[in-house]
């Protein structure tokens, strides 16, 4: 819809005039008709005094002569002299100011972030309620005393001088109590012109802890990878070394040595295979995909079967059993139980001399079933007892048999934990070690636990 000429003119004229407090009257020459009044604040203008600031002659687009008369409201200034409604005006202004101030204070009060104003003299000039909640009220105290409990300014970490030079600084700080804050400091001149730092404090302790946790996990992962690659390299070194020995054309190996070398390859490849299997089981356990298929499990059968197999591998050790015959059944995955026993028996054999005894015991204890494997080997130093269940931890004591993956006990621990049981070790250096684990006995009537 096209605007009429006069409409266009009026709007153009009015828009080019500044400020909403300027009232415009356009008076057609001669006629004295008020053609337009800029609308806002007219009521105020009528009530309060206003000042005529000028009249500009102008031509209408139709050629008529116009006078543009400008009025500015100066009620606050001239009101008292003019004897107008100055108290009403003051009340109005006060109302406006108060509502603006209330809004600002309300915002500061409601802010989740702590806000503090710290002066050049390092005194805390202002703290918002959130800041007071988090650090206690320290208005008027030195910032280093109140925030850090230091006796002197903390110059090495203090950003105040930089901020006072006009830079906005952002940093993270962990207080002695462990809370971490992200702080943003901006230059600010207080109402008395004191140069200040306006600082907002955001508590990022949780985020920081997560970050640290992630860094730790990352380190664990890379440690694990580096350990795995080292564990793989030892058997690989033997295999490569032995094969390259056999390939040398200028050496004739006698039958005995040749056999010894070949047996070496065979044993080291077994070790590689077992390392890979253990690693896979370990990662399945950790990812939660190797869940126990719990069923009624007769541990006495598991023990008998496992010992039979290990007797064949460790021919020169003496295996003994002390088993309570009326052992209650447990809800367990019999394959995983075999794995636990195999690992414990292999350890017992690896760390004890041939010809010594390895004793497997099973008994009922406090509503649980306790299985133990005792050897007469080198034993474990007290300070190492906790660590032996860690992945790739190798005790200071030497294995009597080569190999091992450093994962056996870690796997035992994971499996036993997945069955709601616990595993521990008692040992004396030079006398041998006994590994125990306990599983809760099945309740009567409980047959199968769905997973």
């Amino acid at each position: 819809m096209a605007l009429s000429d006069s409409e266009t003119r009026k709007r153009g004229l009015i828009r080019c005039l500044p400020g909403s407090w300027i009232a415009v009257l356009i008076i057609a020459a001669g006629g004295g008709h008020v053609r337009h009044v800029r609308p806002r604040r007219v009521a105020a203008l009528v009530i309060y005094t206003f000042l005529l600031i000028g009249a500009i002659p102008a031509l209408d687009c139709r050629g008529a002569t116009l006078g543009i008369v400008l009025f500015a409201s100066l009620g606050a200034t001239i009101g008292p002299f003019a004897g107008g409604n100055e108290s009403e005006w003051a009340r109005y202004l006060e109302r406006v100011l108060r509502s603006e101030r209330d809004r600002l204070v309300g915002m500061l009060n409601a802010m989740e972030e702590g806000v503090a104003l710290i002066g050049l003299d390092r005194k805390m000039r202002f703290m918002n309620p959130s800041m007071v909640r988090q650090f206690g009220d320290g208005t008027g105290l030195y910032c280093y005393e109140h925030l850090h409990h230091f006796d002197e300014p903390c110059n090495d970490i203090c950003k105040l001088p930089k901020v006072l030079q006009g830079a906005t600084e952002r940093w993270e700080y962990t207080f002695a109590d462990g809370r971490t804050y992200e702080v943003i400091g901006a230059p600010f001149a207080d109402s008395d012109q004191m140069p200040c730092m306006l600082a907002t404090f955001r508590n990022v302790t949780q985020r920081k802890q997560l970050e640290l946790e992630l860094i730790k996990l990352d380190k664990l992962k890379s440690d694990l990878l580096s350990n795995v690659s080292h564990e793989l390299r030892s058997p690989l070194t033997s295999v490569k070394g032995i094969i390259s020995s056999l390939l040398q054309e200028d050496i004739q190996w006698d039958d005995e040595t040749r056999k010894m070398l070949l047996v070496g390859i065979s044993e080291e490849t077994d070790r590689l295979a077992s390392l890979v299997t253990n690693l896979l089981n370990m990662s399945k356990l950790e990812a939660g995909v190797w869940r126990p298929e719990k069923d009624r499990c007769n541990l006495l059968e598991v023990i008998a079967e496992t010992i039979e197999r290990q007797k064949w591998v460790y021919k020169k050790h003496l295996f003994e059993t002390e088993l309570e015959t009326d052992l209650p059944e447990v809800a367990a995955d019999s394959n995983q139980m075999k794995q636990v026993l195999v690992n414990l028996l292999e350890n017992a054999a690896a760390y004890s001399d041939e010809g010594t005894k390895i004793t497997v015991r099973a008994r009922r204890a406090d509503g649980e079933v306790e299985i133990s494997v005792a050897d007469q080997g080198v034993g474990i130093a007290p300070e190492e007892l906790e660590k032996v269940f860690n992945k790739f931890y190798r005790g200071a004591q030497k294995r009597r048999r080569p190999g091992g993956t450093g994962l056996g006990l870690a796997i035992c621990q994971s499996i036993v934990a997945a069955h709601g049981g616990r595993i521990w070790v008692e040992s004396e250096l030079g006398c041998g070690s006994t590994f125990y684990f306990r599983l809760p006995a099945s309740q009567a009537g409980e047959t199968r636990t769905e997973v």
């Binding site: 033997s238 390259s244 070398l261 200071a396």
Partner: protein, 230 residues
């Protein structure tokens, strides 16, 4: 028949010890084995091997520490074995006095070649050169003796060979590769960190101010030059 060379091998992996021992025995060396660092230091002191091979990662005392202990009283060539192949690990081992470093897994020929090089170095006789004498430094090639300000400087065989090579080429620039070929052997050429470590050790022993070397000058990106004082 010349006396058999004695080799000490220390590793905690029985299979690795087994095949190294079998090979060295088949090649006519007298072999001694140790399963940890403590044992290695004890046996080294007892049998005084011509070459010692130490695994870095051993229980009770690691190979680096064993190497340091042996270096306290002996200049015998020491070869380190390790599953770690990073440059920092090599430099650390060389810094502690090792002469060479073999990363696992390795072919037996490689280890045998390095043992031969080490033996050659410890028995080499660079007696053909005329003795060198300048200001504070004296190199007596016929007696393999180095003196600084008239006092005998204790050098390991590798350090001595390196100095002898630099001195016999004095005034000329020699590259890392030339140094490796001549001092370590023709099998070497890429191990420039070896040269850097040994040059540093040598400077520490013969320069007045090792941080401002006057005798062994660095020719940036090329190699080194031995400058005889006027």
């Amino acid at each position: 028949m010349p006396e058999k060379s004695r080799i000490l091998v220390a590793d905690d992996e029985p299979k690795i010890l087994m095949f190294i021992r079998a090979n060295l025995a088949a090649r006519g060396y007298e072999v001694h084995v140790a399963q940890d660092g403590v044992e290695a230091v004890e046996i080294a002191a007892r049998v005084i091997p011509d070459v010692t091979v130490l695994d870095v990662n051993m229980p009770r005392m690691d190979g680096i520490e064993a190497c340091r202990r042996i270096r306290e009283w002996s200049n015998m060539p020491i070869i380190m074995l390790s599953v770690r192949g990073d440059e920092v690990d090599k430099v650390r081992a060389l810094d502690e006095g090792a002469d060479d470093y073999v990363t696992k897994p390795f072919g037996i020929e490689e280890l045998l070649a390095r043992i031969r090089v080490a033996l050659r170095r410890s028995k080499a006789a660079t007696s053909s050169c005329p003795n060198f004498k300048a200001e504070n430094l004296e190199v007596d090639f016929s007696n393999r003796l180095v003196k600084r300000r008239g006092e005998v400087v204790k050098l390991t065989p590798t350090e001595y060979e390196l100095l002898a090579y630099l001195v016999s080429n004095r005034g000329k620039v020699v590259s890392h590769r030339q140094i490796l070929h001549s001092v370590w052997g023709p099998e070497y050429g890429e191990e420039s960190e070896y040269v850097r470590v040994f040059i540093r050790q040598l400077r520490g022993k013969i320069e007045e101010d090792p941080s401002n070397p006057q005798l062994i000058r660095t020719e940036t990106r090329v190699g080194y030059r031995f400058v005889a004082p006027e």
